[in-house]
Amino acid sequence: MSTLNDPRYVAMPTANRPINNGSSMHDDACRMDGELKVTGKAKYGKDIYPANGLFVAFVRCPFGSAQLVSSDADAARSVAGVVEVEVSRREGNYHGATVGHVVADSPAALRRGLAALNCRWRRRAEIVTAIEQKIDEEPQTTPDTSALLKEEGVLVLRAVYTTQVQTHSSLETHGVSIDHKGDSATVYASTQGTFSVRDGLDEAIALPRSKYEVVCEFVGGGFGSKLGGAGKEGNTAARIAAKYKRPTYLFVNRAEEHLDTGNRPSSRTHVTMAYRKDGTLLGGDIFTWGGVGPNRGGGGVTIPSGRYNLGAVKKTHEDVSLNAGMPRAFRAPGHPQGAFAEELMLDEIAHACGIDPLALRLKAIREDATRSMASLGARLIGWEQRPKTGAQTSIVRRGMGMGIASWGRFPAQVLAEVVINKDGSVVARTGTQDIGTGQRTMVGIVTADGLGVPLAAVSVEIGRSSLPIGPGSGGSVTTVNSAPAFAQAAADAKGQLLGLLARRAGVSEQELSIIAGDIMHGEKKLASWKDACNLLADSITGKGENNQRTVQADKTTGTSSGAQFVDLSVDTETGVVIIHRVVAVQACGRVVSRKLSESQIIGGVIQGISYALHEDRILDRQTGAMVNPNFEWYKIAGPRDMPLIEPVLWTEGGTGPRSLGEPPTVPTAGAIACAIFNAIGTPVRGLPLTPDRVLAALEASANGGRG
């Protein structure tokens, strides 16, 4: 029963990244749902087309600010197959703002109905599409910083760093498919929180909570945008399903996904940082702005990050309301924006001091473990070959840069169940969703490990509100909180089984163990797994729990820091940046699955690269319309843009798993910006680092200025 012989779970040899060999509970486990996903057998919410269903689409404002002058609801209602037309608002203050909806019997009728509605909009000229429009003058230096700058030998860096809007771009768009049967319902949701979908939904769906189930067995990405209730998509669909007592399908299209399901807000960071020539950071002023939606909130920029001792820093922040879709939590909210500014700022200071930026950081990093990770990463990237900043004159110039990450450890309630059936099957049960991170497989591995059976012997039930409660996927909490609960549940189930066997065999329970599914008494095999389970009167259920209290008592886990290093080339004639290698050292604590953990880190780096070089929500400055709500001009890095990414699982310090979802995407953009600075000798202070920006920075430096 060795899993090594089970082709379902073994594909990639560990030899490809020897540095991570033997680091986890199960080095070779592949995703338990991998085959279902690549063959299309896995059904996502968006795949559930209900028979006899209703299809719903929103009516949306096409400009940054516009008034609905006219619409022809009667014409839309008269289209064959159109069931309902509702236009409840007459204006919108961002592209994608919803003002009503159309319901129809089929997608085709829905399209015809929307066309027949023939909305006519009058644009308003006064719109805000960029933070800069709302900044009349740069902020005043605070008195403390002014005093600091007057001290002898104190130097100053004044700089402005900007970042763009990144949309989540989940491959499965937002929405629900509700199978409403009149007095009960199943809600197929694309969500990051199986249980939180129900918040506020009872009323919309007009059923008590016990009469409907939320199902999300497979989720096509979320990155933070699918947290927090059923959303306007779920609530609208639920009201319509309840009204007509019919199955209802509402998934937004790609353009709507870009426009109105959240984003990582834009930012502007103004720094006035004091330092000494020896690289000592003295502090200063940091003023940040976040470009948010029509309502303020959500625009925070995480700088200072707290990872470095920057001296005495005064931080001020202001959200700027734009005529644009609003922010939503996005994989380490606020952090990549802040890290871009913080890391490049440090490199600029190091360069001005003539100090290696790694040396400057090693002095400024607060956490010892991060310092060790930075040293390891530097060795792996070959930091000693880093060129002197600005020394190259060739067309193609090489550069290296680095950045660091940190993440907290947040508690969440988890009830875990491990069921051993009389037929020998094992089922691990949790309602928590798997948003693509590998939660299902993680639960399987911890259960198999805890019981002493092969992974192939375990099946996992996941993503249903009828299953035991688990956390939403926010704050990188699922594994850190679920793994201990499942270890406990597996131990409970195992104890019950071995207790029964011990009584029957007349031995003590402590003398029994389970190895690869065999029940062992010392060195001797007492029974096969199947035979042992057959002795059960019925199934047994092991239970585990994790909550605020157990988390606080648990001293085996800690925060998740990391260090990333980038090696790239810049073509100074074209401004094109090609990244060759990224080394990503990441604190993982106890690793459940080598491959899943490597994948999380690689995925974070990929998203960071794409953010650094390409992604950008582009608003038309005249009309406020997003001109690129697609994957043609909203550019996401593709296969040929990928460097060699080397994840390094740092397992020192603690026996419990640590958060791994968010931290690996924090430092990437900053490290890339530092590497470009190293290559071309002038900083490019605005994301994305596109050819036009790189060329503009080169030109400005050639003219004696600074970008």
Binding site: D571, E573, T574, V576, L613, H614, R621, Q622, D641, D692
Partner: protein, 332 residues
């Protein structure tokens, strides 16, 4: 989406007759249909007849053939067939590399030569049905005061699209001819296939309704090269690209043809560069760079695309150096 009829003619003549018959108000010729699908989905066009050309081709005819010093490409040849043709790689490498640089392997596998020439521009205002731009009968080119980072740096206006074809500029430097049936002529030079917006804003090409491209011919140009700059190396439209072919004798460039793409509403020939290259030694990098700098002559950048002028000079230099059989310094 409205309903439409689909016709499967067995010959190009039949296809042409269907379009000219007057029985349909909005007939469209269909190659792979990629761009038609985009237009229909966005509500930009509602054809009532699609004339599928797939069956109009003689199946026995090779998509790419060499006839003496002439290369013949069937209108339905896929971009992949052109890019991977050993004959084209040998006799007109600029063409293979230009086409091989377009889109993605999946698109190249179905997209046709004629479709690449006649595809509509990618301008984000044109492609959004909410913007009634000049091309759609409106009164404004929204790019002028709006978002024009990817728009044209050359051309008379009033519309500032860049022509999206990778194939056309490559054909321009290889004496490309487009062969048609269904009209008054049998063929026209590639340069005559397109017009600037001031000569007609609703379409980019000069074919009459019912004129159908049957095939393309070009002259062998073994000393030719292509260079492009893209923001992404996977699936992206070039910011600027250049095609060059040289007649090199005894190490001296006797004559040159250079054409730029993604910088103007039509494939943009660069006569000043061509003239400056004539007489230069093929390995004289200073002369090539000086000639490439002339590519910027006449450029009128918009508010956000002046960077394209720098890119153009770089890709012209690189394309010419490649045409001399050398590898220019630079990424990609």
């Amino acid at each position: 989406m409205s309903t439409f009829a689909i016709a499967q003619p067995k010959t190009f003549e039949k296809a042409s007759e269907l379009v000219r018959s007057g029985r349909y108000t909005l007939p469209q010729l269909k190659g792979a249909g990629l761009d038609i699908l985009d237009h229909v989905k966005e509500g930009l066009e509602s054809p009532d007849l699609l004339v599928n050309l797939a069956g109009a081709r003689e199946p026995s005819r090779a998509p790419v053939r060499v006839e003496g010093q002439t290369i013949r490409i069937e209108s339905g040849a896929t971009l992949a067939q052109i890019a991977e043709s050993a004959d084209i790689l040998r006799l007109a490498p600029v063409l293979a590399h230009a086409v091989g640089n377009a889109a993605t392997p999946a698109v190249r596998h179905v997209a046709t030569a004629a479709g690449n020439l006649l595809q509509r521009p990618r301008c984000w205002y044109y492609r959004n049905h909410q913007f009634e731009c000049l091309k759609k009968g409106g009164a404004t080119c929204f790019a002028v005061e709006g978002e024009n980072r990817y728009h044209a740096i050359f051309g008379p206006g009033p519309c500032h699209i860049v022509h999206p074809s990778n194939l056309a500029p490559a054909l321009m430097v290889c004496e490309g001819q487009v062969h048609v049936i269904g009209g008054q002529r049998a063929s026209l030079p590639v340069a005559a296939l397109f017009h600037t917006p001031d000569k007609g804003i609703r379409s980019e090409h000069n074919l009459e309704p019912g004129e159908v491209i049957t095939h393309i011919t070009l002259a062998a140009r073994p000393a030719s090269g292509f260079s492009a700059v893209k923001e992404k190396q996977s699936f992206d439209w070039p910011l600027a690209f250049a095609c060059a072919s040289l007649d090199i004798q005894s190490g001296v460039i006797r004559s040159a043809k250079v054409c730029a793409g993604a910088v103007a509403p039509v494939p943009w020939p660069l006569p000043a560069v061509e003239a400056a290259l004539a007489g230069a030694a093929a390995d004289d990098d200073a002369a090539i760079m000086a000639a490439a700098a002339l590519a910027a002559r006449g450029a009128k950048p918009m508010t956000d695309n002046a960077y394209k002028v720098s890119l153009l000079k770089a890709v012209v230099r690189r394309a010419v150096v490649k045409a001399t059989g050398r590898t220019p310094e630079g990424l990609a």
